[in-house]
């Protein structure tokens, strides 16, 4: 692919661009729900899109991996079973996605393409165009600098927007992005070197925002990968987790699933893929009642091994955490990512008091 093109669009023109996009594609963007929360949802008018918002608690992962995803209908016709794949083919644009979430979508896309490729997910990823809004003002709980997933992106976006006040700096990362800009090409000017400078200054300022103490994966990852985290540490940390599965549900990179059929009615049923959570005790429960991972601490160890071990890092080429901070917000206990990573680094657990 050729060098990323850089453009600029005036703030006052953005809605017109969006109107063009809406004309051709379904658009999903952070918007205000009837209950007043911020959430990713399909929008019908450019005015629905939020530009100044707290990243929604539910990540946009559901648009790549729906929580309940019908895979096929089974129908009995004339005594024979017919397997009908569920074809869902819609060109969609995810607009104003945060950097961390865009990295997470790339992580998921790569995961499903690796080894045996999951063509359903691949197709959905291919029909998804991701427009990110770089985080000039990083969010309160995020730690994306530690996971190389923000606040500004160098990869993983189709289009990256940076708010320059009166205008947006537009980086085009892929052909999909180019096509999206092409829908209203006249609205975009080529970026001047001054624009580039303002964008770079914004990134520097954003990075500086994080300060020194965030979430150091490196040393924790070394400990996890070399088995130097005592089982007792997992055990004592697990007493502070309520097993609710919230962290895995709001995590933009968690992708454990189960497969289940809806109860048959009139010879028909639907096979669905459903989000599951490795934090649930039945995740590894076998039909005989045998469960190799009963201890709560082992389940917790599993989660962090998957997120932050060299073994997985090698396979994935990324940390399994993008630093969005959602688990910090949602955890009913005190065992969110930064707190646990800190405990692993220090080798001791204080119930999360240091992070209180």
């Amino acid at each position: 692919m050729e060098r990323s093109a850089t453009r600029v669009i005036a703030r006052s023109d953005v809605n017109e661009w969006l109107a063009h996009i809406l004309h051709h594609r379904d658009v999903i963007a952070p918007t205000r729900s009837p209950g007043g929360d911020t959430m990713f949802a399909p929008i019908t008018s450019p005015d629905d899109v939020l530009w100044d918002f707290e990243n929604p608690l539910a990540p946009p992962k559901q648009f790549l991996l729906p929580q309940t995803e019908p895979l096929a209908h089974f129908r009995r016709i004339d005594g024979h079973m017919h397997v009908e794949p569920v074809a869902e083919q819609r060109e969609r644009v995810l607009f104003n996605v945060r950097s961390c979430d865009a990295s997470a979508l790339a992580f998921l896309r790569e995961t499903y393409a690796r080894d045996l490729a999951d063509d359903v997910v691949e197709r959905r990823a291919a029909s998804l165009t991701v427009v990110t809004l770089a985080c000039s003002v990083p969010c309160e709980l995020g730690f994306c600098v530690c996971t190389d997933a923000g606040p500004f992106l160098r990869r993983d976006f189709d289009v990256q927007l940076t708010d320059l006040g009166d205008a947006f700096f537009v980086e085009v990362g892929t052909d999909k992005g180019r096509a999206l800009v092409g829908l209203a090409d006249a609205l975009f000017q080529d970026a001047a070197s001054d624009d580039q400078a303002r964008r770079d200054a914004s990134e520097l300022a954003a990075r500086a925002h994080f300060g020194g103490e965030t979430c150091h994966f490196g040393s924790a990852m070394r400990r996890i990968s070399t088995k130097r985290v005592a089982d007792e540490l997992w055990e004592s940390m697990s007493a502070w987790c309520l097993d609710c599965g919230g962290c895995t549900h709001v995590c933009p990179t968690c992708y454990c699933f189960s497969v289940s059929d809806t109860p048959p009615a009139d010879g028909c049923s639907t096979r669905c893929r459903l989000w599951d959570s490795c934090q649930y005790s039945a995740f590894t429960l076998e039909a005989t009642g045998h469960n190799p991972r009963t201890a709560h601490g082992e389940r917790m160890k599993r989660r962090f091994h998957h997120k932050a071990s060299a073994q997985y890092f090698q396979r994935d080429g990324r940390v399994g955490c993008v630093g969005c901070g959602r688990c910090v917000k949602v955890c009913m206990g005190t065992t969110d990512m930064p707190t646990v990573i800190a405990a692993i680094r220090h080798g001791t657990w204080d119930g999360g008091r240091a992070h209180a």
Binding site: G35, C244, D276, S277, G289, M332, R353
Partner: protein, 603 residues
């Protein structure tokens, strides 16, 4: 649900409603079998049979539910008091919550507007009487963790070493033979300590666990008591609550901040159902049946002179009425003897069930009116701390399933009742008129994140005149009875006690049992181990030579049974606990509940 947080059920069961076996249209029983019918036909049949029973003076009743919204429960009360003219209205599992409430009275100066969980999070010490709080009330467990993280301390009392007890500074094991004796001892220790005025010395070396717990309470400024329905026995719950109330009074009298006392209901909307008047001895707003103000309001809203008399409890109704209306519930999930409850339902003249899930109760119905499940319909619920929250419909109910409030309204209409609100907004306004504490909330506040808090929340909302007397006698009655020492005899010569555990509901909730993800979790073990289990201590298992999952033979004076054991560390020795979900499996041994002596051997 609370502050945007959900428990396991909320995360994983969001569209479980699509997984369960459901009635997608109304059904009526004809020649012994249920057949599909139109709404008009089904409502007509239901109304006709109920009217005829009422007109012939036969007893009828209505069961509301802690699984239904406030609006649905309010209409269930109207169905009973207005349309059927009876005081027979109640909900399963209301009783065990009320057992806790009955003995409690808010200690003197706690007219504090903060809601319960917020106060809990800021406590210096929490005394928790639990079954297993992390699974029964995760949202409250979260509050406990918050308090601990802030440096607070925890004292647990319970049957086994739970997750919470592992975090406790002091754990007080309850004795199966005398469950409240530990609490009595705690109260007594505190009284003595307060009388001597030297909290610190009692905490020193050589002090018993009870003494250490008492001194921790004595030296703490902000004290919280959390009471779960840790036992299925009504008397035990009432006595325990009385003792805690007495202890709370003592703490307040000793000069600290008046403590928080948080009794926990079993189901999501038990508090709301109670507020709406789902109780045979109360009117909406938890007012007494004679309360003139409450009567005036209800007269105005309902447009008629309803029935003001008291009625039967849920279990009494199931045993003795001729016609029953059940709202969003299954009797096998709360009745002491599920097998008998189903038999009783089958012998009813008329059973009308508002529920779309296929359960033993809907299967026994004469008329099934399928209504939307939680999450498929709009409405409000009231949390245990008195937060009134709006529930929005996240998914549409499939087929011709109706919102519960509409189906209930339609039955009121079909019965020709004076009261049948035409929209959800009207209904909400009526509740606001009928129940003053709700009326005090600005409807817009409901839309705020987390909902609005009732004025008098954070505290049990009813003080009974008996409470005082009860708590005085309770401490005298149980005195400081010594906890039963574990028997040291060899396993085969041992005397065993078979005993029911506290009420635990969520493993039976249709949203759990029909969710492909959750139905396999141990909390819904009933489905995993259809033949049942009893809990045994790991020490006993070793002495008896059995492993987890093995079958034992249990014999009592009234019978014998084979049942699998599930091992639990830190549980009292010599006791077999029967989880609430399996209470019927062993009912042949224990008669009607309570603890019985049994003999145990390897099968």
């Amino acid at each position: 649900m609370s502050e945007g947080r959900l428990c396991e059920r909320g995360w994983a069961a969001h569209d479980a409603a699509r997984w369960g076996a459901r009635f997608h249209e109304p059904h009526i029983r004809e020649h012994g079998v249920l057949r599909p019918a139109s709404w008009d036909e089904a409502l007509g049949v239901a109304a006709k049979s109920l009217r005829s029973l009422r007109d012939r003076g036969r007893p009828v009743g209505v069961l509301g539910s802690g699984r239904a919204s406030n609006e649905e429960n309010f209409l269930a009360v109207a169905l009973a008091r207005v349309a059927l003219h009876t005081g027979n209205v109640d909900a399963g599992l209301r009783r065990c919550y009320e057992d806790l409430l009955a003995a409690l009275e808010q200690p003197a100066a706690a007219a504090d507007r903060e809601d319960g969980i917020r106060r809990l999070e800021r406590s210096d010490v929490i005394v928790l009487i639990e079954g297993d709080l992390t699974t029964s009330h995760p949202r409250v467990a979260m509050g406990v963790l918050r308090a601990l993280r802030r440096g607070g301390r925890l004292i647990t009392a319970g049957w086994s070493r739970t997750q919470m007890s592992r975090l406790a500074t002091v754990h007080l094991p309850l004795s199966a033979a005398m469950p409240v004796s530990t609490l009595a001892a705690l109260q007594q220790a505190f009284t003595e300590l307060a009388a001597r005025g030297d909290a610190v010395s009692a905490g020193g070396g050589g002090a018993s666990a009870v003494e250490r717990a008492a001194s921790i309470v004595a030296e703490s400024r902000r004290v919280a008591f959390v009471l779960t329905p840790f036992d299925a026995d009504s008397v035990v719950l009432r006595t325990a609550a009385s003792l805690i109330a007495a202890l709370a009074d003592d703490v307040a009298a000793a000069g600290g901040t008046p403590p928080l006392v948080l009794p926990l209901p079993v189901r999501a909307n038990t508090c709301g159902a109670f507020d709406m008047g789902v109780a045979p001895h109360l009117l909406p707003g938890r007012r007494s049946l004679e309360d003139h103000d409450a009567r005036d309001r209800l007269r105005a809203v309902w447009g008629t002179e309803p029935c003001w008399s008291g009625g039967l409890s849920a279990e009494e109704m199931i045993d003795s009425v001729s016609g029953l209306v059940v709202l969003a519930d299954d009797v096998t999930e709360f009745h002491r003897r599920p097998d008998r409850a189903v038999a009783a339902l089958q012998s009813l003249d008329t059973l009308v069930v508002f529920d779309s899930f296929v359960t033993p109760t809907t299967k026994a119905a004469h008329v099934v009116l399928p209504i939307a499940a939680f999450g498929e319909t709009a409405g409000t619920i009231t949390s245990l701390e008195g937060r009134v929250q709006r529930w929005r419909s996240a998914a549409d109910a499939p087929h011709s399933i109706r919102p519960g409030w509409r189906a209930l309204r339609d039955l009121l209409d079909a019965l020709g009742a004076t009261y049948a609100p035409q929209s959800l907004d009207v209904l909400l306004r009526d509740i606001w008129t009928a129940v003053p504490s709700y009326g005090a909330i600005a409807p817009a506040a409901l839309d705020a994140a987390g909902g609005a808090v009732l004025e008098d929340s954070g505290a049990p909302r009813r003080a009974t005149p008996v409470a005082d007397a009860m708590r005085r006698t309770a401490s005298r009655r149980v005195g400081a009875a010594p906890a039963e020492a574990p028997s040291d005899a060899t396993a085969d010569a041992m005397r065993w006690l078979l005993r029911g555990e506290g009420v635990f509901d969520w493993g039976d909730d249709p949203l759990v049992t029909s969710s492909p993800i959750l139905r396999r979790t141990p909390a819904s073990e009933r489905k995993l181990r259809p033949t049942g289990v009893v809990m045994m201590s790991t020490d006993d298992a070793e002495r008896l030579g059995v492993r987890d999952g093995w079958t034992i033979r249990v014999r009592s004076r009234s019978g014998e049974a084979h049942v699998a054991v599930s091992l639990r560390a830190g549980q009292e020795r010599g006791v077999l606990f029967v989880p609430f979900a399996y209470r019927d499996r062993l009912s042949a041994l224990s008669g009607d509940g309570g603890a019985v002596e049994v003999e145990v051997s390897r099968a």
